[in-house]
Amino acid sequence: MDGFMMDIIKGMCIMDNDGNRILAKYYDKNILSTLKEQKAFEKNLFNKTHRSNTEIIMLDGLTCVYKSNVDLFFYVMGNAYENELILLSVLNCLYDSISLILKKNVEKRLVLDNLEIIMLAFDEICDGGMILDADPSSVVKRVDLRNDDIPIAEQTVAQVLQSAREQLKWSILK
């Protein structure tokens, strides 16, 4: 617990139900710094967690809290002495934010469809190991900047309109 007390999160990761990485970020230069180590760790982590849904595990000196839904696994890692409840709060924030972004349909296909927003959410929750925000609604407010509340069928129309408006604007500016 010594050293830089703000660097709490050592890594965050989303995997699919085959253990493939969808998104993963490791924040500590000294922990799992190479891709090979990361992949090995993830494989191990997945093998140990995908069958038993038990929230928490210690692996290779890291405390990992996790959560799964349909075909996705969410992980947040901290060092062995970290307050597990802080890590859990970050995991909950990650999951709830994504759930809000995807309107409760947390599954792989939708995550990939909205990957850019999910990436932004990752970035808003944790900045290089420091917890930037742990409140899902405020995270979502900052990252979900698409046109909301429009049924899918009509959304394309709205987008067409918007891009038309933009094109018009550009032609006037020229």
């Binding site: 990485r21 990939l112 917890i131 930037l132 550009w170």
Partner: protein, 877 residues
């Protein structure tokens, strides 16, 4: 069915997953789209996402690719699309470490950071700080200060977090923002509070008084953020530890009162942090502990697995320091043995084992036996380790534990699990004489049906070592000879060696052993036949001396050092014969004992190497080191300075046959100084001759560099015990603390006094462990060996165990036949120990102790060198 599933898979992954089978070059090609005007935001977002996805999957971009991509990205600043802009920031952050000339976007980012759009500002600050270096920070300093106190929480957070990042590289600039951070601390937003506290603490952490003021102020006020409170608890703990407040005063300390009050906080996170902090405090009495333990106890029965885990892990960690308090939670812990989370269950078991009373061992074992069958191997290993610790604590319970272990041994399990059990049984046998017979017979049964070659070999070796001294050695012969009939060549060879041990140590069995070994000569395998012939020849010679040197006490050289010595020999003058006795014996490397049971590690452990092997590699780089011959011993590092001084120096003594190499590891802790030509000057005692000084040319701030001094021992061993005065000498150049570059070429000489160094007897002795001391001792009663004897009264110690420990430590010898352990309640004890003095001089010591007023010691030393023998007797007096 199969085909249907495949179809379904394709349907799921095929068209919808745009991120499968992405190819780096083609995606980077697509960045051309960024140059189009007007910018097609949707398309560009998609391309950027693909690039970031690739990087996230571990794809490496080279500098040129990254730079091209980065520059293409800068075009996207034209677009007003919010998501696109945010993705650009993300891209800048990802690429900033690889691409060149990233500072080109500074002005665009500064514009966004100071602009009106709040959605841009926060993210722009963070992106900007990822590309800013020390020199450019001055330019944006004004904006940063404004942003820290911005009323938009996101902007303020971003500025604070970025400041914390920058504080590592540009500490002095960030220090000037303390006032703004202080203001931000008063914010209503919980995250702003947290980050402001983080920054303020970081700025002030070097100044204990300022930190203490900060904490005192905040503990009275009410921080709203649970994260900030957690952090404050940690800071408060650190202060308590630094001030070293004794337990009686702790209750009155405002810091403790604050932490204690956090036990009633509304956030579980804070409650746990406080409880965890209290139970981990150094000076704390049971009264102060009890509220914290009640909290942990409560958490043990929580529905949330994480809470249970947190509680039981904390209990496990402090089980050794506060066993009595942990025992109060035993009932709850027993409830957790059947927890669905196996980590929780295992932790609960090991905690119970750590704290269990002697009377409850049987009951616990019964509970565990049902549990053990259900858990995976890695958890079983943890349980086995806990049992091992328990057995060391209650040696009398060895029968119960041994039976339990042998039961586990019979069940299914992988190599690692079986190895840990065998290790445990061997440890028990070695530490507890009473457990020896039953332990050996359990192991014998195990090898009857053991699929792991490495384990069978180890057990056979152990049987060879311990079996001949058991009550009825003959009963082990059958087990060993069965291996010769049934097993693979490796095991057969080990069994032959074990048989020979019996032949050498038990004259009564010799005739039978000779017959068995004769049969082994018909073996199909070369190695087995060779061994059988070798041992037969020696045993037929009927010379006890040969038995001793070639069967019973075969000491192994350290292989790494043997290899080095052989290489040196081949490079040198081949006229001389190679002398194996100068190669240090392989020392037993004690595995690091970690109190933390944290388990489930799959990472391969670093191979264990001895200090000597480590330093041999290091010293090999020194010019002329070969002349000194192979290394005899390296001592543990000793500090020659206080820990928090301008320069810290530690010394390792490498002992050679006639020389000692002092290795000084120096650390410069002054940022504004650059040291050159750093060396240590020693004041040599009489008899010692300086041979070489190898200075360290440059020592920059916070770097660990090494300088060496080579000194030759005096010709007679008796004057080798001496004290050296030491001074660190160097040339100081002032330098810019940020760049580390010296300001000018001019420097001045300076020196720094170090603490004195000693060369002791123990430094010069490498400990050895004789399997059978008595044989070696009797064999040393001959012409070549010399004996010295003396009697002392040790007045400083008043019990036998302390006296034994002192003698072994003082002489640096290894004790044989468990003689380092004094049985309780005796007044007489004999310690048998042995070692090798530098130059390959063997030393055997028998120390007879008697307890009366003080401790009376009769010391007999046998050695091949008169000087050495006298030196050792003199060392005690």
């Amino acid at each position: 069915m199969g085909s249907f599933r495949r179809e379904k898979d394709e349907e799921e992954d095929g068209p919808t997953n745009a991120y499968q089978n992405l190819e780096k070059t083609s995606v980077l090609q697509e960045t051309r789209t960024f140059n189009e005007t007007p910018v097609n935001a949707r398309k560009c977002i998609h391309i950027l996402t693909k690039i970031l996805y690739l990087i996230n999957q571990g794809e490496q971009l080279v500098a040129r690719e990254a730079t091209d991509c980065f520059f293409a990205m800068t075009k996207l600043f034209q677009s007003k699309d919010v998501v696109l802009r945010r993705m650009v920031y993300l891209g800048i952050k990802e690429l900033s470490s690889i691409a060149e000339d990233v500072i080109i976007v500074t002005s665009s980012l500064t514009k966004d950071m100071t602009g009106k759009e709040d959605l841009y500002r926060a993210a722009a600050i963070r992106a900007l700080c990822s590309i800013t270096d020390h020199t450019m920070l001055q330019a944006v300093e004004r904006y940063m200060k404004q942003c820290i106190v911005d009323k938009n929480a996101a902007v303020s957070c971003a500025a604070l977090v970025s400041s914390l990042r920058l504080a590592n590289t540009a500490g002095d600039v960030v220090k000037r923002w303390a006032n703004e951070a202080q203001e931000a601390l008063n914010s209503d937003n919980i995250m702003v509070q947290y980050h402001a506290l983080g920054l303020l603490y970081h700025i002030r952490k070097a100044d204990r008084l300022a930190v203490s003021k900060l904490v005192n102020k905040l503990t009275r006020g009410s921080l709203k953020s649970p994260y900030a409170v957690c952090m404050l608890i940690r800071i408060a703990c650190k202060l308590i530890e630094e001030e070293d407040i004794p337990a009686e005063e702790l209750a009155d300390s405002p810091l403790y009162t604050f932490i204690e009050s956090c036990l009633r906080h509304k956030s579980e996170m804070v409650i746990y942090e406080a409880a965890h902090a209290i139970v981990n405090m150094k000076n704390v009495n049971p009264r102060l502990l009890s509220p914290a333990f009640s909290i942990l106890q409560l958490f043990c029965s929580s529905v949330k697995a994480t809470l249970r885990f947190a509680a039981v892990r904390t209990l496990n960690k402090v089980a050794m320091t506060h066993p009595a308090a942990v025992t109060t939670c035993n009932l709850d812990l027993e409830g957790l043995i059947t927890d669905t989370n196996r980590s929780v269950a295992t932790l609960a078991i090991t905690t119970l084992l750590k704290t269990g009373a002697e009377s409850s061992v049987e009951r616990l074992m019964k509970q565990i036996s049902t549990f053990v069958a259900e858990i995976s191997d890695e958890f079983k290993v943890v349980v086995v380790h806990a049992i091992c610790a328990l057995c060391a604590k209650y040696p009398r319970k060895h029968t119960v534990l041994m039976n339990f272990l042998s039961g586990m041994l019979r069940e299914e399990g992988g190599l690692e699990y079986k190895t840990s059990i065998v290790d445990t049984i061997i440890t028990i046998i070695e530490e507890n004489v009473d457990a020896k017979e039953s332990g050996l017979s359990h192991l014998c049964e195990f090898i009857e049906d053991c699929e792991h070659v490495s384990l069978a070999v180890r057990i056979l070796h152990l049987l060879g070592k311990e079996g001949p001294f058991a009550a009825t050695p003959s009963k082990y012969i059958r087990f060993i000879y069965n291996r010769v009939i049934l097993e693979s060549p490796i095991v057969r060879a080990a069994a032959v060696t074990a048989l020979a041990q019996f032949g050498a140590s038990c004259p009564a069995l010799l005739a039978n052993i000779l017959v068995l070994l004769g049969r082994c000569q018909m073996d199909l395998d070369d190695e087995v036949r060779d061994r059988a012939t070798y041992y037969l020849t020696i045993l037929n010679s009927a010379k006890p001396e040969l038995y001793k040197n070639y069967i019973i006490e075969r000491e192994n050289c350290s292989l790494a050092l043997l290899e080095k010595a052989l290489t040196d020999h081949l490079n040198g003058d081949l006229q001389n014969h190679f002398d194996i006795s100068i190669v240090p014996k392989a020392a037993i490397v004690k595995p690091e004992i970690t109190n933390d049971v944290m388990m489930v590690t799959s990472a391969p452990r670093a191979p264990k190497i001895t200090r000597e092997e480590e330093s041999a590699a290091r010293l090999a780089q020194l010019p002329g080191i070969q002349v000194l011959g192979p290394i005899h011993r390296s001592t543990a590092p000793i500090q020659l300075t206080e820990s928090e001084t301008e320069y810290t120096v530690q010394c390792i003594k490498h002992i050679f046959a006639q020389h000692v190499v002092f290795q000084f590891d120096c650390l410069n802790t002054l940022a504004e100084q650059f040291l050159e030509n750093v060396r240590v000057e020693l004041t040599l005692p009489e008899g010692y001759t300086a041979r070489a000084v190898i200075p360290c040319p440059k020592l920059a701030y916070n770097e660990l560099q090494t300088t060496f001094v080579i000194v030759e021992f005096p010709p007679d061993a008796s004057s080798s015990i001496a004290t050296f005065g030491a001074t660190l000498r160097f040339v100081v150049k002032d330098c810019d603390p940020n760049t580390g570059e010296p300001d000018s070429d001019e420097g001045y000489d300076d020196e720094y006094m170090l603490e004195d160094l000693d060369i002791t007897v123990a430094d010069q002795i490498q400990k050895t462990k004789k399997n059978n001391f008595q044989v070696a001792w009797d064999a040393a009663d001959s012409e070549e060996w010399l004996q010295a004897e003396d009697t002392f009264v040790l007045s400083a110690v008043n019990n036998l165990q302390d006296a034994v420990n002192t003698i072994i430590k003082l002489l640096g010898l290894g004790a044989a036949n468990l003689s380092e352990k004094v049985h309780e309640g005796t007044h007489l004890h004999t310690v048998l120990c042995s070692g090798t003095f530098r130059g390959g001089v063997e030393v055997l010591v028998r120390a007879k102790l008697a307890l009366s007023e003080g401790v009376t010691l009769n010391l007999t030393v046998r050695s091949t060198d008169q000087d050495v023998a006298e030196l050792i007797t003199a060392a005690i007096g």
